[in-house]
């Protein structure tokens, strides 16, 4: 059917007093009550997204229950069932180290961009010339690909010719060059830097939206009551901002937990596993160490952990405020 034909049909049905419109109208109204169009519209997404997840879980579950680390997939899947991979993963100190690294990475890559995001949002909420241009510019890091942000920071933090070491040398803070990404006590901090840099505009955006939701009257009322700037921030701005803070923090933590690009492009989890978060470890176990069984077991355990957290978040306290953003 061409567009004009459709338009004509629409016009015919649209014209008041047109006798032809009645049956069409009745038929459409009945259709609206049937859920099957909805099911059909939902089906492709559920088949691909849900199907992928189910396939992933079944495959990983099956792999994780075989006591064969190396080898082609069909041979691994033919091995007898065993729980040895789970025992190995849960007792391996490296697993818990990775878990700890994930916690530090997620905390650092959330706290730092939150602070920058709050600061920039408060600034950009002021009236000033060139506001729209400045707002756009501050959002730029968000648009920079993770790998590109990573190489930009690797270059800035390069040991010999990096500008960061140059500035620190000039200020007299360091006397010998720091090899940020290769020093196992600093590498985690080094990968948090580009992650935070890319993440802060998200906080700026969310918190700016939050600040704009506060009505002027509320500030005026607070002024009438004699509140100063700090009191206004504490008793007017913060309460209005808190749902925005909560959602952006949760969202960003999930984002940081699944992060792969920054770490893999720069350190691949090294040096000596210093930046191997859980997400990176699952990949390295499978594709670098070819230990499919333990990669799968770790994957299933992560799946269970995240599943429990999501279930809790959806079911319990935060139902209303998280809907839509999660």
């Amino acid at each position: 059917m061409s567009i004009t034909e459709r338009q004509n049909k629409y016009d015919v049905a649209h014209t008041p007093g047109n006798s032809k419109a009645q049956p069409v109208r009745r038929r459409k109204m009945r259709k609206a009550n049937s859920p099957w169009i909805g099911v059909a519209l939902m089906a492709p997404t559920m088949l691909w997204v849900g199907g992928t997840l189910v396939f992933a879980v079944v495959l990983l579950l099956s792999l994780s229950l075989r006591d064969v680390g190396l080898g082609p997939l069909d041979k691994v899947l033919a091995a007898p069932l065993s729980l040895v991979n789970y025992a190995e993963v849960l007792t391996n100190a490296d697993t818990w180290r990775s878990f700890g690294i994930s916690v530090v990475y997620v905390a650092g890559s959330t706290a730092i961009p939150f602070a920058i995001g709050l600061g920039t949002a408060l600034l950009l909420n002021q009236k000033m010339p060139g506001q729209r241009l400045l707002r756009t510019l501050v959002l730029v890091p968000w648009a920079v690909p993770g790998v590109t942000a990573t190489i930009a920071f690797m270059w800035m933090m390069a040991p010999t010719y990096g500008v960061v070491n140059y500035i620190l040398r000039t200020l007299g803070i360091i006397s010998t060059d720091i090899n940020w990404f290769a020093d196992d006590s600093l590498a985690l901090l080094a990968v948090i830097a580009p992650t935070s840099w890319k993440a802060f505009p998200f906080f700026t955006l969310m918190l700016l939206a939050g600040l704009q939701s506060v009505g002027k009257e509320q500030y005026e009322a607070a002024s009438m009551d004699g509140a100063g700037k700090l009191l206004k921030f504490r008793y007017v701005t913060l309460p209005a901002l808190s749902p925005f803070i909560f959602i952006s923090v949760i969202f960003n933590m999930m984002y940081a937990f699944r992060e792969f690009d920054f770490i893999y492009a720069s350190t691949r989890g090294g040096p000596a596993g210093a930046t191997e978060t859980i997400a990176v470890r699952i990949y390295n176990q499978a594709f670098e160490r070819f230990d499919l069984g333990s990669a799968a077991a770790l994957g299933i355990l992560t799946f269970a952990l995240i599943g429990a957290v999501v279930f809790f978040l959806v079911r319990k306290k935060f139902k209303g405020s998280l809907e839509g953003v999660l």
């Binding site: 519209l41 492709p44 920039t120 600034l123 010719y161 749902p243 893999y264 699952i282």
Partner: protein, 287 residues
């Protein structure tokens, strides 16, 4: 008397505004320094780049496009761009269509098993992509799609759609049902109501979706890394990652590729920017 007070207030306000303005400019300059430094490194001669005392503002330095030329002749950057473009367009079109349909279904229909749907999408959002890398590898190997752009498009679509579908759903939720009900009373079918009424007023939401999908696909390293084997299939992030792997990193050229990789994203953001804020945040916060 009143006039005098007003003027004085204006003056005070003006002074304050300038102060915030200056701070914002300084903060913006500091925050954008990595991008500036990358572009600068890309257009400076190697001798100026490999310096123990780099000039932060290179006044009087000769500019050189050697790095950009070098990248164009010595690497397969054009092929990486072409592959990335295919993956990006494929994945964003596919996930936009899927999520518009899914969001419409979730927002306007009572779906059987809607809780399972919601839980699936949430899990799809939160699970690390690395967890899906191995299953995708096995799946596409069985389907004979390994080492093709199609596999990367499909994998990215599965990873992106949970985000964009829920984003679109909250956008549709913000639009009164009466609008599409009115269209149906006027003889539109359900899909007609989506196409003629709901979508035209949801441009910011769709723009935010497409922007999110395109950025995710353009920047994807994980699935390209896992599913693409031959160099001819590599995407931009793969190319960049391969240049870091070298023993002696050519920083000039690496920054040139990095700078080039940002340009398309910046162009897309420039066009989507007016819609982005409302599209991302509308309906998202209800608490």
């Amino acid at each position: 008397m009143t006039v005098a007070i007003a003027t004085r207030r204006n003056k005070i306000q003006k002074f304050r505004l300038n102060w915030a303005f200056v701070t914002t400019i300084v903060v913006t300059v500091v925050l954008l320094f990595p991008v500036y430094w990358m572009f600068l490194t890309a257009v400076l001669p190697t001798s100026a780049v490999l310096s123990r005392t780099p000039a932060v503002i290179p006044i009087g330095q000769p500019l050189s496009l050697d790095a950009v030329k070098g990248v164009l002749t010595e690497t397969s950057i054009l092929s990486w761009f072409a592959r990335s473009a295919v993956v990006t367009i494929g994945a964003s079109v596919l996930s936009a269509v899927l999520s518009i349909f899914a969001a419409f279904a979730m927002s306007r229909f009572i779906l059987p098993g809607s809780k399972a749907v919601g839980f699936t999408l949430l899990m799809g959002r939160v699970l690390p992509g690395t967890l899906l890398a191995l299953p995708f590898f096995v799946l596409f190997q069985t389907m004979g799609l390994l080492d093709t752009s199609t596999s990367v498009i499909l994998a990215n679509t599965a990873a992106i759609t949970p985000f964009t579908a829920l984003m679109m759903k909250s956008y549709f939720d913000g639009i009164p049902r009466e609008l599409d009900e009115a269209a149906m009373v006027d003889g539109c079918s359900r899909l007609g109501a989506l196409w003629r009424v709901l979508l035209p007023v949801s441009i910011p939401g769709v723009a935010a979706c497409v922007g999110f999908a395109a950025t995710s696909a353009w920047t994807d390293l994980l699935f390209s890394r896992t599913l693409l084997i031959s160099q001819e299939q590599w995407t931009i992030p793969m190319g960049i990652a391969s240049m870091i792997g070298d023993v002696n990193v050519n920083w000039n050229q690496l920054m040139a590729v990095g700078a080039l990789s940002i340009l398309p994203v910046l162009v897309v953001y420039w066009f989507l920017q007016p819609h982005l804020v409302s599209g991302m945040t509308a309906g998202g916060v209800k608490g």
